[in-house]
Every structure is written in structure tokens, then in C-alpha cells.
């Protein structure tokens, strides 16, 4: 069982794929905007794992730099998204994405 | 209803019922939380309970609930004879028993129309001024705790201990003295008392200065209290505030000066009011400052009294105490300046019994505290604590 005993690129890719899928699942199914946001964060994390994994096994710095920028983006995104969510909440008194959809004039 | 109308404020809307309510960011639907502060809470000075409606840190409304220490003073006063009331009076404002007794005795003596020996008057003034300092020290110390400074509190209590010792030496008890009796005092001063008291005054002055440096002048303290809990003078009068609270709002009103009871007219003392430079007039800081200044004045009064007090060998302080206290029918309202304000006793005597028909205590804290509800609107919780502290309530007197 070589696959299990030595950790390689593929392991990371699998984890990242699972994380990505879970994140996507949250985005698609959950109605609570905040959970959706969590899903997005999971997706971004999955992407980061990929970046770093490739970077590691290629010996380059690109992936590392990219993941850094992704984190920045994630932070900015979280800030803005939550501000928007709060604003939506203020207006509609709900964070349910689908009902927000139906409530807009 | 022919009820009151308008008060404008940027964040305050007055509903037709005259209920002030702060509208804080009402478009932001954070929920109101009902928060019970007290009866067991470190900053409610005993068993006051404030039911606060809060929105985040902002107190939208705080409703004081009293009565957790309602000890039925007025009932006891109707059931116990005149001298027997004194211990109960002691227990009302337990931080300033001497002053309480003083007020009560003034009321009853008015009713009895008896003359008090001059030396007794001086003795009374001395002990009640000592007690006033002790009481103010507790006020200042607990205020410091409320604002998070623990050390000044202990310093206050340390110095208070000397006063308790002095008073215990004269009266036999540490806190609840039953010393000032109707028509006299219980014991003559012990030998050396004057001397020791002067020593105390000498000892205490630098300590008061140190306290001032440590607490009152501390920038954090100032920032925490300045402009917090503003009370304009006219409203303060309307609320019936008295004592340091009223003076903190800039009204020069001191019963020791206004009524001039006992030997106070002979003494030279200032009525302390804030000057508006260090604090905004009417805020918590000025109330604190007034207390601190009053400590100074009380020290002066003590010195003067000790100077002027007639010395008499073998003086019997109980000589003027009537054997049987049964006042003629009538009613009286007697009052004195307590550390917390005007303490008045409204006594009705039916002329027949040795017990009063009615003895109502007008307690200063009760009245001062009644402004709490209005003062608390739109404060942050820490400010609320600062305001309660600055009112300096003693629940025993509030609830009686």
C-alpha cells in the first residue's frame, strides 16, 4: 500500500477536491448567506491547498505567492461579503438567500 | 391625559405618555436584551436591582427595583419608644449613623423643645463630622472599585478604620453607635480624645492628598466620569436632590448653612460646589469632587470645634436627657445634612404615648436614586456603573 504510506501530491489533491466539493455543496444548498460564505471559504481553502501542493512538488514559489494573495482576497471578500450580508439583513431582516431573491422589487 | 410633553434630543423621543426612550439605531435590528443588574452585583452597592434593557452595550432603559432591604423602619418607629428608635435610625444609613442620629434627635428635640448643653452640641458636631468623613471615604472607595481601581478603595478603608477606632473609643461601637441620644450624648469624650483627633487630622491630610493624586487626578478616572450622568441644577432641585449630589450640580445648598442647626453658624466652613474647571458642572466627576472637598471641610470643622468646645470637668452628657420622653401632641419635620443629603424625619406625636404616631424618614438616597431611571437612558453599561457609584446610595437608607 504505497499510496497510503507515503504522502504525495495526490493526497493533497484529493483533500482539496473533497473540500471543494463540500464548499460547493454548501454554496448550492444552504440558504443562509453566512453558511454560503463559509462554503466559499472552504473552496478558497481547497484552492490554496492545490496551489501549495503544486508549489511544493515543483519547487517553485509561484504557488506560495498565489496562496498568499488568495488569503488576502479571502479576507477582503469576507469583509465585504459580511458587510453586504449585514446590510441585507438590515433591509430584509433575513439572511436567507432565496427569500432575499424573492423580496427584491 | 394632561401629561407632560416635550423634551427634544437627538436620540430621544418622548412618547405621549411621557416615557423617555432612547431610540438607538432602530433600523439595525439588534435585539433588546433584558439584563438584571443586581441584586447581587458588585456595583450596585448592596441589593439594588436594575433591570436594564440593553442594546449591545447601550442601556436603553434601566428601571431600579428597590425594597430588597426594606426593613420596615417606619413600622418599628411606631412600635418602639422614642429613645428606642435611635438604634433603628442608626441602621438606616449605616455608613453615617452619627449623622442619622443627629437628624433624628434634632427632630425629636424640636418636638420636645428642650435645651441642649453647649458642649454636647460640639460633641455631636465633631462625631458627626468624623462620621461624615468616614462615609465619604466609603463613597469614594466604592466609586473607585466601580471604576476598576481597587487600591484606592483599600486606602480609603484603611483610613476609615482610624475613624472607626476613634468613634468606638467614644461610643463603644464601631459602626452603629447609638451615641447621640435625645437631649444629649451617651458618653463624654474620653480623656485625650481631642488630642488624638487632632493627630488624626494631621495624619489624614496627606493621605487625602495622596488619594486625590492616585484617583481623582488620574486621567482615566477623569475621562471615565467627566460629562457622564449630567444633571442640570434645576432638574436636580426638582428631583429633590440634596447634599453632595445637589452641590455637584452647582447649587450652593447645605443644610448646615441654610438651617444653621446646632453650632454650625459659629463655624467657618465652605459650602463646596464644583468650579466647572476640573469637571463639567453636574456630572459624576463633580459629585465625586464635591465629596472629596467636603472631606477637607469636615477636617476644618473638626479642628474648629475642638478649639471652641468648652471643657468641663466631670461633664455629664446625659444631664439634659429627659427622664421620660413623651412629647406633646404635634408634628415636626426635622432634618440635618447627612453625607448623602438631607435626612429628614417627619414625626407626629399624639401627646399621649411614648411612641410616635408616625415617623417618616425622608431619606436622601431614596430621593437621589429616583433620578436613576432618567439618568440611565442611553448610557453605556460602564457609564451606568459610574453613575450609580456617583449617586452613592446606601440601600439601608433607600429601602429603610
Amino acid at each position: 500500500m504505497d499510496f497510503f504510506s507515503t504522502v504525495g501530491l495526490n493526497h493533497y489533491l484529493i483533500i482539496s477536491a473533497i473540500l471543494f466539493g463540500l464548499g460547493l455543496f454548501a454554496v448550492v444548498t444552504r440558504k443562509n448567506a453566512i453558511v454560503v460564505l463559509m462554503g466559499v471559504e472552504l473552496i478558497l481553502n481547497a484552492a490554496n491547498i492545490n496551489f501549495l501542493a503544486f508549489s511544493k512538488y515543483n519547487g517553485g514559489m509561484e504557488g506560495v505567492m498565489f496562496s498568499l494573495f488568495v488569503i488576502v482576497l479571502a479576507a477582503a471578500e469576507a469583509a465585504i461579503a459580511l458587510a453586504i450580508i449585514i446590510n441585507i439583513y438590515k433591509t430584509f431582516n433575513t439572511v436567507d438567500v432565496s427569500s432575499i431573491d424573492s423580496m427584491k422589487e | 391625559m394632561q401629561e407632560l410633553g416635550k423634551a427634544e434630543h437627538s436620540s430621544i423621543r418622548v412618547t405621549p405618555q411621557g416615557e423617555n426612550r432612547v431610540i438607538v439605531e432602530k433600523d439595525l435590528s439588534s435585539e433588546e436584551m433584558i439584563l438584571n443588574m443586581g441584586p447581587q452585583h458588585p456595583s450596585t452597592h448592596g441589593v439594588l436591582r436594575l433591570e436594564c434593557k440593553t442594546d449591545g452595550e447601550v442601556v436603553i432603559e434601566a428601571e431600579p427595583y428597590l425594597g430588597y432591604l426594606h426593613r420596615c423602619f417606619e413600622k418599628h418607629a411606631e412600635m418602639v419608644d422614642y429613645p428606642g428608635i435611635v438604634p433603628f435610625v442608626d441602621r438606616m444609613d449605616y455608613l453615617a449613623s452619627m449623622n442619622n442620629d443627629f437628624a433624628y434627635c434634632i427632630a425629636v428635640e424640636k418636638l420636645l423643645d428642650i435645651e441642649i448643653p453647649r458642649r454636647v452640641e460640639f460633641m455631636r458636631v465633631i462625631v458627626s463630622e468624623i462620621n461624615r468623613i468616614a462615609s465619604h471615604l466609603v463613597a469614594i472607595g466604592t466609586y473607585a472599585i466601580d471604576l476598576g481601581a481597587f487600591t484606592p478603595f483599600l486606602f480609603c478603608f484603611r483610613d476609615r478604620e482610624h475613624m472607626l477606632n476613634l468613634l468606638e473609643w467614644t461610643s463603644g461601637a464601631r459602626m452603629l453607635y447609638n451615641y447621640i441620644l435625645i437631649g444629649g450624648v451617651a458618653y463624654d469624650f474620653p480623656k485625650d480624645f481631642a488630642h488624638r483627633t487632632l493627630e488624626f487630622v494631621k495624619y489624614f491630610r496627606p493621605k487625602a492628598l495622596e488619594l486625590q493624586k492616585l484617583l481623582t487626578e488620574n486621567e482615566i478616572f477623569v475621562k471615565r466620569t467627566k460629562g457622564v450622568g449630567m444633571m442640570p441644577a434645576d432638574v436636580a432641585i426638582n428631583y429633590g436632590w440634596s447634599g453632595p449630589m445637589l452641590r455637584g450640580s452647582g447649587v450652593e445648598w447645605d443644610l448646615r448653612r441654610v438651617d444653621g442647626y446646632s453650632v454650625y453658624p459659629e463655624l467657618d466652613f465652605k459650602v463646596c460646589v464644583p468650579d466647572g474647571k476640573f469637571s463639567d458642572i453636574g456630572d459624576s466627576l463633580s459629585r465625586h469632587v464635591v465629596r472629596a472637598l467636603e472631606i477637607e471641610e469636615s477636617l476644618n470643622i473638626i479642628e474648629q470645634c475642638l478649639d471652641k468646645m468648652p471643657e468641663e470637668e466631670g461633664f455629664d452628657p446625659r444631664s439634659a436627657i429627659p427622664k421620660r420622653i413623651r412629647p406633646k401632641a404635634g408634628e415636626v419635620y426635622g432634618r440635618a445634612e447627612n453625607p448623602r443629603g438631607e435626612l429628614g424625619f417627619y414625626i407626629i406625636s399624639d401627646g399621649k404615648s411614648t411612641k410616635p404616631l408616625r415617623c417618616k424618614a425622608r431619606s436622601s438616597c431614596f430621593v437621589n436614586l429616583s433620578a436613576m431611571k432618567e439618568l440611565s437612558l442611553g448610557q453605556l453599561i460602564p457609564d451606568l456603573v459610574a453613575i450609580i457609584g456617583s449617586i452613592d446610595i446606601v440601600l439601608g437608607e433607600v429601602d429603610r
Binding site: - | 411621557g18 426594606h70 452640641e121 432641585i237 453650632v263 453658624p265 429628614g344 417627619y346
Partner: protein, 175 residues
């Protein structure tokens, strides 16, 4: 200093109260009684209870009276007359130097007195206390609840015929 000066000031007090009373009497000739020139606490009575609030307002706002400070409001029980009453000690702080007491009565059962809580905010809690202890109602009071005793307390403790309840919430009350 003792007697001499005190009696002087006392008589001054009464004189000031007399002057004060005259003004009130002129304004409300039927509603107020004569001044009781008692040297300890000069007072007059309000004969028409329902006008008490008006009188109170007059006392507070008339430029000659300006009794802006209510020192005390005490409820009293007069079992013989079958009445309850309140006694208000009024004073003018910082404007004039006079003080006076006013008495208002109501029936013992279901008595009503107009509330002056909107005239002097002091009266707010004092009236609540009087209600708590004696059971008279103050009409127009913003928030008339028991203040010292618990909400579900039975009886009005300071009435002369008060009997202590046996138990409160399962706790024995009398000794």
C-alpha cells in the same frame, strides 16, 4: 447656641410661611384651609383634594412662591377620622427662603389623591411608597406600583390595622 436663636429663626419661619400661605389662599380661597401656625412645622390643609395638583403647580411656579423643592412627602393614616393623607414639605431652594407643609386627605378605602409626580419628580417615588404603605391611589401617576414591598404582598403595612401575612411564597413571615 441653643434656644434663643433657634426660637428666633423659628418665628421667622412661621412668618415666611404665613406670607406664603396668604398668596396661596388668595389664589385658592376655598381649596385651602387656614395656616396652622405650629412653630415646628407650619402647614395648611388642602380641602378640595382634587385641586391639589393645581395648587401644587401654583406653589411651584408662582414667582412669589417658587417652592421648587419638595423635601418630603409622607403618607399618614388617621384611623379615627377614617382618612389617609399625605404631608408634603415644600421649600424654595435658591430663590426664596421659605418653607411650608401641605396636607392632603383622602378616604381610607379607595382613596384617591391627584398625583404631583409631574410637578416634582421627587413625588414620583414618594407617592409610590405611600401607595405601597397605605394603599391610597394617586391619580395620574405615571407608574404606580409597589416600590418597597414585593408586588404580590398583601396588605398595606403602615396602616394601623395591618396584620402581617402568615407566609410569603412558602416562607414563614412572623417570628
Amino acid at each position: 447656641m441653643g434656644e434663643s436663636q433657634e426660637s428666633v429663626s423659628r418665628s421667622q419661619e412661621v412668618e415666611a410661611a404665613l406670607a406664603l400661605w396668604e398668596i396661596v389662599h388668595a389664589a385658592f380661597p376655598d381649596a385651602v384651609s387656614a395656616l396652622d401656625e405650629n412653630p415646628f412645622m407650619p402647614f395648611f390643609e388642602v380641602l378640595q383634594t382634587e385641586r391639589w395638583r393645581e395648587i401644587a403647580l401654583f406653589l411651584r411656579d408662582d414667582p412669589k412662591l417658587r417652592c421648587n423643592y419638595m423635601a418630603c412627602l409622607s403618607g399618614v393614616d388617621y384611623p379615627e377620622e377614617g382618612k389617609l393623607g399625605i404631608v408634603c414639605n415644600l421649600e424654595s431652594v435658591g430663590v426664596h427662603a421659605h418653607k411650608i407643609a401641605v396636607k392632603v386627605y383622602c378616604d381610607r378605602e379607595d382613596g384617591v389623591i391627584p398625583s404631583v409626580a409631574r410637578v416634582w419628580k421627587t413625588a414620583d417615588w414618594h407617592e409610590r411608597e405611600a401607595f405601597d404603605m397605605y394603599g391610597m391611589t394617586f391619580s395620574g401617576h405615571p407608574d404606580l406600583r409597589r416600590i418597597l414591598c414585593p408586588e404580590d404582598w398583601t396588605g398595606y403595612p403602615l396602616r394601623k390595622d395591618y396584620v402581617v401575612q402568615e407566609s410569603y411564597h412558602g416562607i414563614k413571615v412572623p417570628n
